[in-house]
């Protein structure tokens, strides 16, 4: 009886507000997810533009295009925009779109707070980007905001701190929404250990965010009071300690890395099982591995600051605890490989990006292990080796996973298949150029080139030129990504409900594009 009603109701039920007000006032999780994803794509392009300025300046030794002050602003803004504006909002967008569908919930638990957190983020970035036009320019201290350097920022300083507060508030509200949705709105039968790994990874990510965001908020507030209210939290002249800020920052900053990468783990787990046509190998081990990585992320922060001069016991503790992360990460890499083992693998674009993630993220993981060894880190610290390491983790790691997710779920969002040939071309261009861009930076770092400099000694010229060529190629390839998405959104071959060959998960049980309101009746999970 009920089903007759649902069918008849569907036409109306799919009615949605039209025009600009739909996007300004919507509380629908799919609309908000789309807004987050579009916002993050725009920020990815803006942050990429800053990266192009950096790579153009570093194309040759000497100062070519920008003065050193502006170069430092570019490195800082590139990092802040990419971390807080591109990668994090992209994963939040994916969470908004997919978590309610994956757990059988009709929407997020707190839809208005969901919308509020998006607009907070939007205004935070308008503020942050506006600092480029303020007297003294944008912050130029690096995304780490170390005092006393950051206190030399011009008029942008309080604006940037306020923007960071808004971003933090937005992230916290987003996390609270994810936590409450997953904990309290799962469909009947959807126990925690039946949840898809993407939802699991986001639950743990949200937990991490909740734990560390107050530390960042407190840290930047103390910078503000040191600057304007004559406190001395980090000022040695008043009894403070600038190294303490590094502890505060990295207590937030290291889990932040996992906040960006854990959702990527979830995405890759979903994709590998679909295109290997096998269930994920060791589901529970994968969940516990994510949880272990999250726990360990709280006790390794000082490996970012071995060179400040810490006791030997501290160096040993942080070296060993950092190396411990390799165990759960190894479990994940093993399980992903075992999932593909003897699978009936096909190589559609999401799978290509997921496999590239597997290889290239592992390279970033291994260079991380090198950096974890305190005496070795003394040599690598603040060199381009560190730049190569974290870019391998974040670009072919987190960004590739996000691209894989877009190619995986885009037909579900738009109802259209995208241009597979172009997507394959985009994959190969991105993969080749990302390696041309970042792999030589290992050599530069090992040869001693410091990071965050606009000019360098001539012996670093060749690899810098190669790296810049890779950067331009990678940047141009992303325009193709934008074109593919727009083309699919505007039309194309109709996608079926399943889209791929028997993919797992509730999201594939609804039509493509997913109806404005996904589940009329709660799906029963057996």
């Amino acid at each position: 009886m009920a089903h007759h009603e649902h069918t008849a109701d569907h036409a109306h039920h799919d009615d949605k507000p039209q025009g600009i007000t739909r996007w300004l006032t919507t509380t629908n999780h799919k609309d908000i997810g789309t807004m987050y994803l579009v916002f993050s794509l725009a920020m990815f392009l803006i942050g990429g533009l800053f990266a192009m300025v950096i790579r153009a300046e570093l194309f040759q030794p000497g100062l070519q295009f920008v003065d050193p002050g502006f170069f430092n602003q570019m490195t800082t803004m590139h990092a802040l925009v990419m971390v807080f504006g591109a990668v994090m909002p992209a994963t939040v967008g994916l969470a908004n779109w997919m978590i309610p569908m994956q757990i059988g919930a009709p929407d997020m638990a707190l839809p208005r707070m969901n919308l509020f957190s998006f607009w907070l983020l939007f205004f935070a970035f308008m503020l942050l980007l506006s600092t480029l036009f303020l007297p003294g320019g944008a912050p130029a201290s690096g995304w780490t905001l170390y005092p006393p350097l950051v206190l030399q920022t011009g008029n942008a300083f309080p604006v940037a701190v306020f923007a960071i507060h808004l971003m933090g508030a937005s992230s916290i509200m987003g996390s609270i929404n994810v936590i409450v949705t997953i904990m309290n709105m799962r469909a009947p039968g959807m126990s925690l250990l039946k949840m898809p790994l993407f939802s699991w990874s986001w639950l743990i990510t949200a937990y991490l965010l909740i734990a560390v965001m107050p530390v960042l908020a407190g840290g930047v507030t103390m910078l503000l009071t040191d600057h304007f209210f004559a406190t001395s939290f980090f000022n040695p002249a008043g009894g403070g300690d600038p190294v303490l800020f590094q502890h505060v920052f990295w207590f937030f900053g290291h889990p932040e890395v996992y906040i960006m990468i854990l959702p990527a783990f979830g995405i890759v787990s979903e994709i590998l099982q679909t295109f290997s046509r096998k269930p994920i190998f060791g589901y529970e081990a994968m969940v516990y591995a994510i949880a272990s990585i999250a726990f360990l992320s709280f006790i390794v922060w000082a490996h970012h600051m071995f060179t400040v001069g810490m006791p030997l016991a501290g160096q040993m503790f942080f070296t060993l605890s950092t190396m411990l992360i390799a165990i759960p990460t190894g479990v994940k890499v093993f399980n992903w490989t075992a999932t593909m083992w003897r699978g009936s693998i096909s190589f559609e674009p999401p799978m290509l990006f997921a496999i590239a993630f597997l290889f290239l993220f592992t390279i970033g993981g291994f260079s991380g292990l090198m950096l974890a060894i305190a005496p070795a880190d003394f040599q690598y610290h603040d060199t381009y080796f560190v730049v190569a390491h974290f870019h391998y983790v974040l670009v072919p790691g987190a960004v590739f996973a996000i691209m894989a997710a877009v190619y995986y779920w885009l037909p579900k969002w738009t109802g259209h298949m995208y241009d597979m040939k172009l997507a394959n071309f985009h994959f190969w261009m991105s993969t080749i150029f990302v390696n041309v861009l970042f792999f030589p930076q290992h050599f530069l770092g090992l040869a001693g080139m410091p990071r965050r400099i606009p000019d360098y000694a001539t012996q670093f010229a060749d690899w810098n030129m190669v790296s810049s060529i890779g950067g331009f190629g990678f940047g141009l390839s992303q325009l193709l990504f934008v074109y593919i998405i727009i083309k699919a959104a505007r039309g194309g071959q109709k996608a079926t409900a399943e889209v791929w060959d028997n993919p797992p998960g509730l999201e594939w049980t609804v039509p493509s594009p997913a109806p404005y309101h996904t589940f009329d009746t709660a799906p029963e999970v057996k």
């Binding site: 039920h13 107050p214 530390v215 103390m222």
Partner: protein, 178 residues
């Protein structure tokens, strides 16, 4: 607010339509209050341990942010849980529309003659959500107060079909199988 969508559609109708159609608005909550409390306490423990450690090092501004964050989380969890206590059953027979509302204050029932009853959606204004009421002869009863806007609109459409407007009594069987 949204978890009731499943409930909106959770109607039951007997084999014999003369027994009426019941639309149950029942929130789905995966957590029991005890589980929610345990979960919230574990989050508080982690957050305040971290903030307390930094406060002990002299970095006390971390504490108020942790407190604020936990307060918002507690409010959000409570808001989500509170709905499990609130249910509504709209029972339709050929003659009557009966609404039974159960919440922390107990159960209340209100009945309208179906022929003269009509559902009315009062549009959302500003921060105020829309309100869906069933009214007749100067009396009104709000239904679906905990639903989202979209869900409330959906319920309104359904009620229009099965209850009809004033001076209308669409046959239930026909309304269910248009």
């Amino acid at each position: 607010m949204t978890e009731e969508l499943r409930a909106v559609m959770g109607e039951t109708a007997g084999d014999d339509i003369r027994h009426g159609l019941a639309i149950e608005l029942v929130p789905n909550c995966s957590l029991t209050p005890a589980q929610a409390f345990g979960f919230f306490a574990s989050l508080c423990f982690v957050s305040f341990t971290v903030a307390g450690y930094f406060a002990a090092q002299g970095l006390w501004p971390v504490l108020p942010f942790a407190g604020l964050e936990m307060a918002v989380l507690g409010w959000a969890l409570n808001l989500s849980l509170r709905r499990r206590r609130c249910t509504q059953t709209i029972t339709l027979t050929e003659d009557e529309v009966r609404i039974v509302t159960r919440d922390s204050c107990g159960a209340r029932s209100m009945a309208f003659p179906r022929h003269w009853a009509s559902p009315r959606l009062v549009r959302a204004r500003g921060w105020h959500p829309s309100r869906l009421v069933i009214e007749s002869h100067g009396r009104a009863c709000e239904v679906g107060g905990l639903l989202t806007e979209e869900e409330r609109r959906s319920l309104h459409t359904r009620l229009q079909r099965v209850v009809g407007m004033v001076n209308e009594s669409p046959r239930l069987q026909a309304a269910l199988n248009p």
